[in-house]
Amino acid sequence: MSGAPRPPAQAGSAPAAKPLALTCGEPAGIGPEIAARAWETLGARLPFVWIGDPAHLPRGTPVREVTHPSEAPRVAASALPVLRHAFPAPAAPGRPEAGNAAEVIAVIARAVRLAQEGAVAGLVTGPIHKKALQEGAGFSYPGHTEYLAALAGVDRVVMMLACEHLRVVPATIHVPLAEVPHLLTRDVLMQTIRLTHAGLRRDFGISVPRIAVAGLNPHAGEGGAMGREEIETITPVLEALRAEGLVLSGPLSADTMFHAAARAHYDAAVCMYHDQALIPIKTIDFAGGVNVTLGLPFVRTSPDHGTAFDIAGQGRADPTSLIAALHMAERMAHARRAA
């Protein structure tokens, strides 16, 4: 898989890159502790500023409060740079406080403002708990991604899941499988492929992205013998987009497009439904997957897991996916700067 050019190991005489912003997410979840663990691992090598209430961080975390993200690269060698955002209540592991919900949301909005002002290179978001935000603050968005799109004034974004070996974009996401055949219109598919194509160019530095598109049915319908969506929906969209110059393969049989040799032929796979995208990436890289939002005016990634209330506060949470999300955001920001 061809990736983005890596930033140079030495910054040299170039101006110091801006730090990333990392939001605290739900403080009753594992967000604060994995942020502290990520800083321990990355230090000044990949500076980020954590936005949240320092009282929610694990006891003993070396913290340095900053007043502006630009101070983060300087302090990150010795402490976790924190942009303080006061919360009304402490964090009880596994039990979200209704009183904290509004601040969880406010932290996200604050991070978006910093990204829009150009004060940070991109946004990495800690996991939130949708139900806690609904009940505590009347949060009405289906999820993080939709809220970010609304803040940015963007109509449509797509979710990409990426690991070192595979990038996947589901065309439909959190809906019952039985609704997928109805929701999978030419329009939805066309927008998904276009946003994927634009995102690979802008955020991953791939000038001519190669996109593989899965079929919906077994063996991609086998010429209509096992379903007609490939013939009636997918193929016409691919033909129209190929006529515009996009490099697309498909509709491909989903079961044979994800092994290593097949993956060498594309930069991202557009899938028809959630599990068609999630099964291969979890099978290939269970812990290292990163959630990327394409189509926003700023870079945004997040770890590919939730608040993990069951293990919060025990020091057992694995920061691998968050660290991968920070690396991915840095590379994406670099690709944008280079463009």
Partner: protein
């Protein structure tokens, strides 16, 4: 001393693919002679060309039927004389090759029905060629069931490294698969998987059941099949003595099996099972048709048209298919011999 190795029909598979060279190499190397007695059912010219491709020599003795076979010397072949491989395009899916592959399998099934062979292992065939050649079945498993006059339940299972993967629905459009997922079918599939694994010597098979919807439906938010259909089916099967659990979100259920927490995963639909298993290398594994009176096994990989004739094709999966066939057949025979009431 009696020879208790099971008698196994070996079919070279589609003559335009790598099947004949795999078959010839395995017979020439003779290293599976300890697990089974082989009778090749097919065309002599196909087997001989396979031997040429593989760079091996075979001593062949023709027999009229497996019942007449003598297992102490040359390769025993029932020469059907039906397939001239040089008249078929090498390395392509071809309808005539598919027709002849089906015809050859049908003859082997006749021998099985007559009790002359105890199991059938076939080298790779091509489903498309079979279909275009007039065997109008979505896969070979349905064809076998039809030829055997099998009325009950049966299913494809994929086996690798002690893991047995199966599914409720198979080669049908996703819309149809959704209609076919019922509590009764799930319970039946669990029984079939349990029975088949026990038949292979796994005494207490543990089965994980996949959910249908994203995140397992997230409590009904993204679909109700988990609540209305799958969970009740799992409960019923458990009450009937099957060690099954679920439904589990399908993006991580296979990881449970790969970590060794279960022996088997039951998927709801084709791609749900096939994506994870193929990423994990199940092409190196074995496909069996579970639930039929005759044992059928085949390598999970296909005809590999791109490397036909080079003699480089790996025999590992076919060897595994033969070993599994022999194991299943031997246990069936042992069970049939057990005194009643045991």
């Amino acid at each position: 001393m009696t020879d208790d190795r099971p008698i196994l029909a070996l079919i070279p598979g589609d003559p335009t693919g790598i099947g004949p060279e795999l078959t010839a190499r395995i017979l020439a190397e003779g290293k599976l002679a300890d697990v089974a007695r082989f009778v090749v059912v097919g065309d002599r010219r196909v087997l001989e060309r396979g031997a040429r491709f593989a760079g091996v020599t075979l001593e062949i003795a023709e027999v009229a039927s497996p019942a007449a076979a003598r297992f102490d010397g040359p390769v025993q072949l029932v020469d059907l004389g039906n397939t001239d491989p040089d008249a078929l395009p090498l390395g392509e899916a071809d309808a005539e090759a598919g027709r002849l592959t089906g015809e050859t399998l049908a003859r082997a099934i006749e021998f099985a029905l007559a009790g002359d062979v105890e199991a059938i292992t076939f080298a790779p065939l091509n489903k498309r060629a079979l279909y275009d050649g007039g065997w109008r079945f979505p896969d070979e498993h349905k064809m076998f069931a039809h030829l055997l006059g099998h009325a009950g339940q049966f299913s494809e299972m994929n086996v690798l490294d002690g893991l047995w993967m199966t599914r409720v629905t198979s080669h049908v459009a996703l819309r149809e698969a959704l209609d076919q997922i019922t509590e009764a079918r799930i319970v039946d599939a669990l029984h079939l998987a349990d029975r088949t694994m026990k038949g292979a010597g796994i005494d207490a098979p543990r089965i994980a059941v996949a959910a249908l919807n994203p995140h397992g439906g997230e409590g009904g938010l993204f679909g109700r099949e988990e609540i209305d259909i799958i969970a009740p089916a799992v409960e019923r099967a458990r009450a009937e003595g099957i060690d099954c659990r679920g439904p589990f979100p399908s993006d991580t259920v296979y990881l449970k099996a790969f970590r060794g927490e279960v022996d088997s995963v039951l998927a709801m639909y084709h791609d749900q099972g096939q994506i994870a298993t193929k990423v994990r290398g199940f092409m190196k594994g074995v496909t069996i048709t579970a639930g039929l009176d005759t044992v059928f096994t085949t390598p999970a990989h296909g005809t590999a048209y791109d490397i036909v004739g080079q003699g480089t094709a790996d025999t590992g999966a076919t060897e595994a298919a033969i070993r599994l066939s022999a194991r299943l057949a031997a246990r069936r025979r042992a069970e049939a011999l057990e005194p009643q009431g045991m």
